[in-house]
């Protein structure tokens, strides 16, 4: 029954096939080197002292007792980092970043702003000694009242986290009273009042979502060596070695050319590994000791001190006329940024009505600091909470007007020439194609089976539908393709491979050159060995770095044609290159395969290497529809997922297995977010479930197979039609599951997670 379907519209030789990934063997044999696997002669081990308070002023730090412990080689505090003013830097996905905040988040200078905030760090000859030394550092705090909830933090009498944060308005106007609201914006399209006046049915609802973590299995790690000539080498697993280099350089106050970041294999990121937490600390510990220093986080540190994604408060209002056409939509989003400004509320606002053709809309957003860890992006950052609100309001509207939810999406779906709020007009997109594929899917037409009666009549089943939109991103990327004499190509690129991107990039290069994917040797290299490449984020690698590989291959091809022309002594225009063969257009005798030519390069004028640097525009925008069947146990409140089908327009699946894998993984993170994951804080702001046992991400036992349908509506902005895949699938599940729970037991849940307790409470309230 479980199935994965690919709806292809264009076939290629290599693109669209399923070769074994190039780095696979090393990863199934334990040979692959992840960040924590590095070992160096003389290596010291570092540990970080973290604040026990959610909000406090640091009065003094005394490290003398720690330094006296045998085996301790150095202790550092923020005093060992340069004082950074309020200068602002433009650093990729995180947008504008105040450097002092970045530095203070590595090592707090004046105040600690969340429990777990780094205060000092130790380097010692063993991790155990470093741990013991932490207990010997004496920090004197003046404890301050904390604020944890976004709505509380927005109140006028709320404790203020930053004396230098003033609300920035849309116009760039800055208020003159310090506030926890870092920014406030309103985006509008059409005439929203007139639109609501035309509506026959209006539904407005409130939502709350909690903070959740990306939950990558590999904890953060960093190893640094500060060389005697003041050059620094950093080994770490991150989503972008260049990004870590640039940010570390700014925090350390040195030029980027002084730092080489060597990307180790990365054990999951999902947006959470773009921020330097340990790298600058490892560097200054190495400077003090003259030895390489490695730091790795424990799991509780990962939960408490790295960036989860924002919780928030949302309100969505949608009006439709009698025919079911949306006439207006409004939204209010307040997202927790954590300890420093910079939630993803702006992106949530861009995506909130993305799947719909909305003529009149108004979205208001607030970025709010609270005494919790600084948030970081998490897979489609900002969009899942927004979709949870919109897609459940739409479900209610469909019920009220008696319309099938997929019919509603066909009538109101985003289409070419339409415009999402705050965005450009849509070019070719696959929103309606995806809805149609969902309608035609056997899952949608198969009636729900009755629950197995073993547990009496306490179980109820329901089906839910939800859609979603994700912007997808591009960025700078570089690639170099060196032709080897044995007919293979060494592909040098700069995008850390989190989920099979080496294969996906090699395949795009191979497609151009007409060679096998296996004849390409992709390598992710350090910051001194390839041109700048932006982070592995925004579902952008197959798009942007894929494009760089495509262009580098074109460069190889051009040079090969020239070389053949020279060997044959004919004009280059007479040489054709197709399917990996160079040939003369009219003389069939003149023919060389790629392999034959590769073998002759060194003796016919020298080696050939292709290169490309790109920063392409033309990202596609991704759309998805999810169908889910749930079973609700009305006695315990537990919700089980019985069946899940995720349909998504991916443009073109370069390697369908990894596209399916991205979709399945994203869906399951969404299921965890929907049903159990959340940060539990006590009233002192201490996370009380900072272990995998208590945070409780989905296990294999919680899940069925996840069916996928890959819809391919080629993106005209990419040579192979790629849209970007990875983030979209986490957007619809929460709404789809909420809608399914309603279908099963008639309760509408509007807070996440929809845990057994909340289900039971809602059932009791309903009188069940």
């Amino acid at each position: 029954m479980a199935s994965n379907i690919v709806l292809s519209t264009q076939e290629y030789n290599v693109v669209g096939t399923r070769p074994i990934r190039h780095d696979g063997t090393d990863k199934v044999t334990g040979r692959a080197q992840f960040g924590a696997d590095i070992n160096l002669p003389g290596l010291l081990h570092g540990k970080v002292l973290r604040s026990p308070h959610a909000h406090a002023r640091i009065l003094s730090i005394d490290v003398s007792r720690a330094l006296a412990l045998p085996g301790v080689r150095a202790v550092v505090t923020s005093a060992d980092l340069p004082r950074l003013s309020g200068q602002v830097a433009d650093l990729e996905e995180a947008a504008m970043v105040t450097l002092k905040y970045r530095s203070d988040n590595c090592l707090a200078s004046d105040k600690v702003l969340y429990k777990g905030h780094a205060v000092a760090a130790v380097a010692a000859t063993s991790p155990h000694i470093a741990d013991e030394a932490l207990a010997l550092i004496d920090v004197e705090y003046e404890v301050l009242p904390p604020v944890f909830n976004v709505l509380d933090a927005m109140k006028e009498d709320a404790p203020i986290l930053h004396e230098d944060v003033f609300t920035t308005d849309m116009s760039g106007e800055i208020a003159n009273v310090a506030s926890n609201i870092a920014s406030h914006f309103i985006t509008e399209i059409g005439d929203v009042e007139a639109g609501f006046a035309e509506a026959d049915v209006i539904v407005e609802r409130e939502y709350e979502t909690g903070m959740v973590h990306q939950g990558y299995i590999e904890p953060h790690n960093a190893t640094a060596l500060w060389h005697a000539d003041d050059n620094i080498t950093i080994w770490c697993s991150s989503q972008g070695q260049f990004n870590i280099r640039d940010q570390s350089a700014q925090i350390l106050g040195i030029p980027v050319s002084k730092i080489k970041v060597i990307p180790m294999e990365i054990g999951g990121g999902f947006g959470g590994k773009n921020t330097p937490y340990l790298e600058p600390i490892a560097a200054i510990l190495s400077r003090k000791t003259g030895r390489p220093v490695k730091l790795t986080m424990g799991r509780a540190e990962v939960f408490e001190a790295t960036g989860p994604t924002s919780g928030g408060y949302l309100r969505v209002k949608i009006g439709v006329n009698k025919e079911g056409r949306i006439t207006a939509a409004g939204a209010y989003l307040a997202y927790e940024a954590g300890a420093y400004p910079g939630s993803m509320v702006n992106i949530g606002a861009m995506c909130i009505f993305g799947p719909f053709d909305v003529p009149n809309a108004r979205v208001e957003g607030y970025d709010v600091v609270v005494n919790k860890p600084k948030t970081a992006p998490y897979r489609a950052p900002g969009a899942p909470a927004a979709a949870f609100a919109t897609e459940t309001v739409v479900d209610e509207i469909c019920e009220k007007i008696g319309m099938d939810p997929l019919e509603f999406r066909l009538l109101n779906g985003a289409r070419e020439g339409g415009q999402r709020i705050g965005g450009p007009r849509y070019l070719r997109i696959g929103c309606l194609e995806t809805v149609r594929a969902a309608k035609e899917h056997e899952h949608y037409s198969t009636p729900l089976e009755k629950p197995i009666s073993s547990n009496g009549s306490s179980r109820r089943r329901g089906r839910g539908v939800a859609g979603g939109f994700w912007i997808t991103a591009s960025g700078q990327a570089s690639a170099v393709a060196g032709v080897n004499p044995d007919g293979t190509v060494s592909l040098i690129e700069g995008s850390p491979d989190i989920g099979g991107s080496r294969a996906v990039l090699a395949m795009q290069l191979a497609e151009v050159l007409g060679i096998a994917a296996e004849d390409v040797r992709p390598m992710v290299v350090d910051t001194d060995s390839v041109g700048y490449t932006s982070t592995t984020t925004g579902s952008g690698v197959a798009f942007k770095t894929g494009w760089a590989c495509y262009e580098a291959a074109q460069d190889v091809k051009r040079q090969m044609i020239k070389r053949a022309a020279r060997i044959w002594d004919v004009p280059a225009d007479d040489v054709a290159y197709s399917d990996g063969v160079l040939s003369h257009r009219s003389d069939p005798e003149l023919r060389l395969t790629f392999k034959e030519m590769a073998a002759r390069l060194n003796s016919t004028g020298g080696p050939i290497a292709g290169r490309a640097t790109v920063n392409p525009s033309g990202v596609g925008g991704a759309f998805a529809v999810h169908l889910v069947d749930v079973e609700v146990d009305t006695e315990t409140g537990k919700v089980d997922i019985l069946r899940f089908t995720a349909l998504q327009d991916v443009g073109k699946a370069i390697h369908p297995s990894y596209v399916e894998g991205q979709i399945q993984g994203g869906v399951v993170q969404g299921i965890g977010w929907a049903l159990n994951e959340e940060y539990f804080y006590n009233d002192r702001g201490e996370m009380v479930n900072s272990s995998f046992l208590d945070y409780r991400m989905p296990t294999s036992l919680d899940l069925p197979m996840i069916d996928t349908v890959i819809v391919e509506v080629a993106n005209p902005g990419h040579p192979y039609g790629v849209r970007g895949v990875g983030e979209m699938p986490i957007v619809p599940p929460m709404a789809a599951i909420s809608n399914a729970i309603y279908d099963a037991v008639g309760i509408r849940l509007r807070t996440l997670p929809m845990s057994p307790g909340k289900v039971l409470e809602a059932l009791w309230e309903k009188g069940c």
């Binding site: 044999t29 299995i217 590999e218 999951g268 894998g661 995998f692």
Partner: protein
Amino acid sequence: MPGKVHVQSNINGEDTDFLCEPRQSLLEVLRDVLSLTGTKEGCNDGNCGACTVIMDGRIVDSCCVLGVEAQGKQLTTIEGIASADGLHPIQQAFLENASLQCGICTPGFIVAVKALLDREPKPTEQRVRHWLAGNLCRCTGYDKIVRAVLDASEKIQASPR
């Protein structure tokens, strides 16, 4: 701090002596003392399975075993799964089914699956899901991992080594 303890065990078929502090976990010993870094740390408290090894035929989370407890024990780590002739069918099935994305959980899963198929060569999907419930994967949603296990089970049946 007491001195180091001399421990003798058999790791991946080789008699291995090592020195470790009594407070060092088996995971630390494998990774930091013996440079067997294929065994991964995800949580260090028994909740993710990334550190799974086989000890005297049973799977254990090596982060929850002390190094000194390996005295006299037979251990299999991820480094001991493939043979000189090549990958184990489980490893091959993981590759062919695209069962890894980032790959940090993969060694733990493969070791756990080895222990399962050694004792139950033909598990059902539900049994596989149950057996692997102690191994967390955040990337794949488990679908392709479960498929790989069922696939490997069939392959091993078809051509026993």
